[in-house]
């Protein structure tokens, strides 16, 4: 039988430069159009956020990319291969973490990971070592030999991520990976995902919670109603994006009168947390702070009040309204 040699060592760098590209993907279930016309690019070395409301077709698109569903139409390359025509090639190069996944409750995390290693045909003498590495990566060593059903939701989520990484894939498809995670685990997840991207992997992470993706995403693909409505490079977007900024000073009265004098409109109600103003990018913010300081306003804080993603999302939905 033709076993595909899967790079198993964590230091082996995955095929770089081959992420995901999809265009005009369509998938229906009977008369339900789950994915109407979606396209995206998820380059290697970056985290691409797939953002959209519930029911917008994110999970269905990921299932198509994960070689589980045949699309009705569309051009797709995942890690350099066609998931429909060459599913095995794609499978050996992708890690998929479903949104709602079951686990074998009676097995231990170690047993689960060793079984997955066998399922990916890692050499037999690598199974135990690989499981140990992954348990360390997702901080589950303490629970490695307890049955999975004692794990909390967040811990199961981490086990799910470890399972997707067993065969060291170059492309990761993560469906709502942060759902149910506490803030501490979320920060850890962020670190893991950034590290994976830094290794040259392509990550596609879906979510409907924008704050979750704010710090990890390099790119964002917005989908709604089964269609891609916008695609952004966040690093490019950030410095010039129009979004609310929050200003706080020791004397709010003088701040407000000075803003009025400078002709800057205040959005929302000023409160103890500060005053929100709409600014078009970093340049404008720096100018405003300089002007305020020059005029004697004792500014203590000036920061974006909304994340880049959130602002882009709001702008997008506004434009559609």
């Amino acid at each position: 039988m033709g076993e595909t040699a899967v790079p198993a060592a964590p230091e082996a760098s995955p095929a770089a430069g081959e992420g995901i590209s999809a265009a005009h993907v369509r998938r229906t279930f009977g008369n339900v159009v789950a994915v109407d016309d979606m396209g995206l690019t998820a380059p290697a070395g970056q985290v691409t956020a797939l953002v959209g409301p519930n029911g917008s077709g994110k999970t269905t698109l990921l299932l198509v990319l994960a070689t589980l569903l045949v699309p009705d139409a569309g051009e797709i390359r995942v890690a350099g291969h066609d998931p429909v025509r060459e599913p095995r090639e794609v499978r050996s190069r992708i890690g998929w973490m479903p949104d709602a996944f079951g686990t074998y409750d009676t097995l231990t995390p170690r047993e689960v990971l060793q079984f997955v290693a066998a399922a990916y045909r890692l050499p037999r003498d690598r199974h135990a070592a690989r499981a140990r590495e992954l348990l360390a990566l997702v901080h589950l060593e303490d629970l490695a030999d307890r049955p999975v059903h004692v794990l909390s939701r967040g811990q199961k989520q981490r086990l799910g991520l470890a399972r997707a990484l067993v065969h060291d894939p170059g492309v990761l498809l993560l469906d709502e990976p942060a759902a149910g995670l506490d803030p501490r685990s979320r920060i850890e997840l962020r670190g893991i995902l950034r590290d994976l991207a830094a290794d040259g992997r392509a990550l596609l992470v879906s979510s409907h919670v924008l704050a979750e993706l704010e710090e990890i995403a390099d790119r964002a693909v917005f989908v709604d109603g089964g269609r891609t409505v916008d695609e952004h490079d966040l690093t490019e977007l950030r410095p010039t994006q129009r979004r609310p900024w929050r200003l706080r000073s020791l004397d709010q009265e003088s701040l407000l009168s000075r803003l009025d004098g400078l002709g800057v409109t205040v959005t929302g109600q000023p409160g103890p947390a500060g005053v929100d103003v709409m600014l078009a990018g970093d340049e404008e913010a720096a100018d405003l702070v300089a002007a305020l300081v020059r005029d004697g306003v004792r500014v203590v804080e000036c920061a974006p009040a909304a994340g880049t993603l959130e602002a882009a999302y709001l702008e997008m939905t506004e434009g559609r309204r």
């Binding site: 039988m1 595909t4 899967v6 299932l63 569903l69 025509r85 499978r91 097995l107």
Partner: protein
Amino acid sequence: MSTATREAAGPGGARRPRIRRASWRGVVTVAGHEFRLRVRTGRWRWLLGAWFAVLLAFTALLRWALAETRPTPVTGPVPGPGAADVPPPAPLGTPMLGGLMLFVLGLALLVVPALTAQSVNGDRERGVLATLQVTLLTPAEIALGKLLAAWLTALVFLATTLPLVVWVMVEGGVGIARVVVTLLVVALLLGVMCAVAQCLSALLARTTTSAVLSYLTVFAATVGTVVVFALALPLTTTTEQVTERVPVWDDPPPGEAPGGPADRHAPPPHPPGQGEPDRWETRTYERSQVRPERVWWLLAPNPFVILADAAPAAEPRFDPRTGERLSNPLDPLGEIATAVRDARASEDPQAVPGIVPSGPEQPEPPRPDPVWPYGLAFDVLLAAGAIALTIRRLRTPVRSLPRGVRIA
């Protein structure tokens, strides 16, 4: 394991390579995993204990009942000339083995659907099937591995009955061949049932539906075949014109007492071959007759029929003192086998009652042709079809999903 790969695609799937391959290692990976899951989840000690207790009680009761009804010399062996008239008692092992194996098969056919009927759709409901399908395991490896684990579980139940089989052998009257063949046939039939139940679990979305249908399949194979056979039998009735030449004697032969039976058609009072009849008369009448040989195959797939018919015939017993052939003891397997073989063989017109030449000097007719090869072949083909269908259903990426099913 076959390593055949079919790259050709059928209609509708023209773009899709069809991977039919299965490596032994992949099958063992899945089977070991499934078996471990089964061992961890069930209350196996209790189940196996209950299973063994039921069979032990059955065997003990059966032995007791057989010993009670066995014809035994009233006063035990009496020294003297009278002792030679009493044949040795028939061993209890023959009926016990038949009873036990039929009972084990029946009980196991009830257990197997519970073990297997949720194998695929249950995994999908629990959200663990898709994570298996995205690995490098092929659909064939997943299907065969799961089937192997289910079959092994069923065989564990069968293995639990081995102490009872040893007991039966100690009772005497059963050859090792009979024991081995019956155990093998039961094992094979359980595998067939596992494959069918697993296929239903792959075809149907709901675990309850597949469980119910599995039990219905067992019912159809065991009771259904017999009912259909019984209902079909009257439909096979044929009416035929029978023309017979009958010898006629006009006068009572000399030496016979007058006033004897007035029937002119009575057979000649002297032995055949002596005294020619005066003339021959041709008589025609209609005879209607059921033809079981046309519908015997309805019984063939029945697991009980296969088990009974495949068991080698009980060895003839001879009286050790006189060398005379003794009647065989009650043998449920042999009786079922004779019934179905006769049903298959009855097309021979010679076999119509009344025309069979019979006499003490007739040699014992050879055992009619067996039925079990057909039944077993049918069942094994059914299992092979079920496995192929299961593999088809596990293939990804999928084009069409049953209504209301999410692949993950």
